[in-house]
C-alpha cells in the first residue's frame, strides 16, 4: 500500500527528452529553433509540450532568426530556450552577444557533434568548449553548464534557466551526442521539489524606471515589454536609460559590471563533483560523456592501487580556476581527456600555473573516449 502511495515518476528518458522536462519544470514557455541532429528531439518535445501549457513553439527559417525570436520572447516576459548543434551554434553567436550586452535571460542548448562545419551529424565531440566561451565577439560574460548523465541534464537545464533569470545573462547548456541520445532512468521531480527563480521586476513606476541601473548585486530589475515600461534596447554600449553612450566612465563601468555580476558569484555558479580526490596523486579533469569514462578509469586505476581521482566539471564557464589551482598543488599530474585536440587542457594549464604536470588526452574520430585508453595514458605517463 505504502509503495503505491510513494510511486515515483521514474521513466527511461533520452537526454534530449530530459532537457525538455527540465525546461518545462523551470518555467520555459517559449521555444524557437531550427531542428538539427543531434538536438532535434528537444525541438520535437517542446513542440508537443508547449502548446498544451499555453506556451509557444516556433520553427524559424534559420538559427539566426530563432535566436532573435528567443530574445524577443524573453524581453516580452517568457522564459525562452533554443536548441541546436555546432553548425547552428555558430549562427546564433551574433544574437548571443546581443543577449549578453542587453542582459536578456535565455538558454541556448548546444548538443555537440563532430566539426568543423557540418562535420559528423550523428557523432559526438567536445569541439565547442571554446565556442561556448568565446563564440560571440567582444568581452562578454557567459555561463556554460555541462551535464554527464540524463538526470543531470534535467537538473542542469533547470539550473541554466534559473541562472539566466537570476543573473540576466544567456546561459549555454553544453551537451554532446552521446548523452543527448542516451537513455537512462530518471526520476522526474514534481514542481514543488524544485527551486524556480524568476527575474527581478522593477518596483518603481514606469516614469522612474532606469532599465540598466543595477541593484547592489549588479543585476538591474527587468521590466517586460508590453507592461507599460517603455525603454530602449540597443546592441551599442548603453547608459542606465538604455541609450548609446560614448562616455568613457560609463563604458568602463558597464563592461566591468557585466563581468562582475558573474565573477562575484562564482561560488553560486560553479558546480563540480569529486571522485576519490582526497588522497589522489593523479587527477583526471573531465566533463560530459567523457567524465563517465573517466569515472570508470578511476575505479580501474584504484584496483591497480594507483592513486587516481576525478574532478568532474558541471560548470565549465566560468572556469573553476581556484578549484583546479588547489588541485594542482595536491597532485603530481593532471590528465585532461577530451573529444577535441585539447581545448579545456589550456584552461587547466592556466589554472595550474605550473604547479604540476598537465597532460592532454585527445580523441577526434567521432567515438567516445573509453576508460581503458585513459588508463593506458595514465600508465604511459607514470612510466615516463
Amino acid at each position: 500500500m505504502n509503495n503505491l502511495k510513494k510511486e515515483k515518476n521514474i521513466k527511461l528518458l533520452q537526454g534530449n527528452e530530459a532537457c525538455v522536462e527540465g525546461a518545462i519544470l523551470a518555467g520555459v514557455r517559449f521555444f524557437a529553433g531550427y531542428p538539427i541532429t543531434p538536438s532535434t528531439e528537444i525541438a520535437e518535445g517542446m513542440a508537443r509540450r508547449l502548446p498544451r501549457l499555453g506556451g509557444k513553439f516556433i520553427q524559424m527559417e534559420d538559427e539566426i532568426a530563432s535566436m532573435a525570436a528567443v530574445i524577443g520572447a524573453s524581453i516580452a516576459g517568457l522564459k525562452s530556450l533554443t536548441a541546436t548543434s555546432g553548425p547552428g551554434f555558430c549562427l546564433k553567436q551574433e544574437n548571443i552577444g546581443f543577449a549578453a550586452i542587453n542582459e536578456i535571460p535565455c538558454v541556448v542548448v548546444d548538443v555537440q557533434r563532430g566539426g568543423p562545419s557540418t562535420g559528423l551529424p550523428t557523432k559526438p565531440s567536445q569541439g565547442d568548449m571554446m565556442q561556448a566561451r568565446w563564440g560571440t565577439h567582444g568581452d562578454h560574460p557567459i555561463i556554460a553548464l555541462a551535464p554527464s548523465t540524463v538526470n543531470e541534464i534535467l537538473t542542469l537545464t533547470i539550473k541554466a534557466v534559473n541562472f539566466s533569470e537570476k543573473y540576466r545573462t544567456p546561459v549555454i547548456l553544453l551537451l554532446d551526442e552521446v548523452i543527448a541520445h542516451m537513455r537512462e532512468k530518471v526520476e522526474i521531480p514534481t514542481q514543488k521539489d524544485i527551486e524556480v527563480i524568476d527575474r527581478k521586476k522593477p518596483t518603481v513606476p514606469p516614469e522612474e524606471y532606469l532599465p540598466f541601473k543595477p541593484d547592489s548585486d549588479g543585476v538591474p530589475p527587468m521590466a517586460n515589454f508590453g507592461e507599460g515600461y517603455r525603454y530602449h534596447i540597443t546592441g551599442l554600449i548603453h547608459n542606465y536609460k538604455g541609450l548609446p553612450t560614448s562616455n568613457s566612465q560609463e563604458i568602463d563601468a558597464f563592461i566591468r559590471r557585466l563581468h562582475n555580476k558573474i565573477q562575484k558569484n562564482v561560488k553560486d555558479i560553479i558546480i563540480n563533483e569529486k571522485y576519490f580526490l582526497d588522497d589522489a596523486k593523479i587527477a583526471l579533469i573531465a566533463y560530459g560523456s567523457v567524465a563517465r569514462a573517466a569515472e570508470r578509469t578511476v575505479k580501474l586505476a584504484r584496483e591497480e592501487e594507483l592513486k587516481v581521482g576525478l574532478l568532474k566539471l558541471l560548470t565549465i564557464w566560468p572556469f573553476p580556476f581556484e578549484e583546479v589551482n588547489r588541485l594542482a598543488q595536491q597532485v603530481d599530474l593532471i590528465i585532461v581527456p577530451e573529444m577535441n585536440l585539447g581545448q579545456m587542457v589550456l584552461e587547466v594549464e592556466r589554472a595550474a600555473q605550473g604547479r604540476c604536470r598537465v597532460v592532454s588526452y585527445s580523441r577526434v574520430d567521432g567515438e567516445l573516449i573509453n576508460p581503458i585508453e585513459i588508463l593506458g595514458k595514465i600508465q604511459e605517463e607514470i612510466s615516463k
Binding site: 521514474i10 521513466k11 527511461l12 541532429t37 551529424p121 550523428t122 557523432k123 552521446v178 548523452i179 541520445h181 542516451m182 537513455r183 537512462e184 532512468k185 560523456s289 563517465r292 569514462a293 569515472e295 570508470r296 575505479k299 567516445l368 573509453n370 576508460p371 581503458i372
Partner: protein, 189 residues
Amino acid sequence: MKERIEICLSGAGGQGLILAGIILAEAAGIYDRKEAVQTQSYGPEARGGASRSEVVISNNPIDYPKVIKSDILLALTQAACDKYVKNLTKDGILVADSSMVTQIPSISAKVYQFPITETALKKLGTKLVTNIISLGIIVGLTEVVSTEAIKKAVCARVPSKVKEVNEKALLLGFDIAKDLKSEKCEDKY
C-alpha cells in the same frame, strides 16, 4: 550473472535495433528495477548504413554508458557481425541472423545461428518484427531480463495497432531460444 552486462545489437539502419535497445533497457530499468543505459550509433542515412544500439545493465549505478566488451552480440548483417564479433568476450554469446549472416568467424564465444528475418516473414508476414523476435531469442537464451519485464516493455513501446503481432514475435523468439538451447533443427520453422 555478472555485475555489469553489456549488450550490442548490430545491423543496418531500418532493422529496428535502436527500438530493440530501448525496449531492452526499459525492461531492465523500469520493470526489473535494475540500472540500465541505452546508447546508439548510426550514420546520417535514414535507412541502410551501419546501425548499432548498446545496452548496459547492472545492479549498481552505471558509469561508462557504452559497451567496452560485449557479453551478448546480436548481428543482423554480415558487415555488423564482421565488425563487432572481435569485441565479444570469450565466454560471450553471439546471436546471428543466418538469413543475413552467412560467414561466422571462428570465435570462442557461444554462437547461435537462426534465420530470424526469414522466419519473421514466413511466420508473421512481416520483416518488421525481426527486432522483437531477436529480443525474444536473446532473453530466452540469457535471461538478461525477466520474461515478464520484456513482455511489458514490448507492449508499452510498440504502437497499439501492431501490439498483437509484436507479442507473437516475442513469444516466437522465446520458442526459438528454447529450441536453440536444446539444439533442435530449424525445420520446425
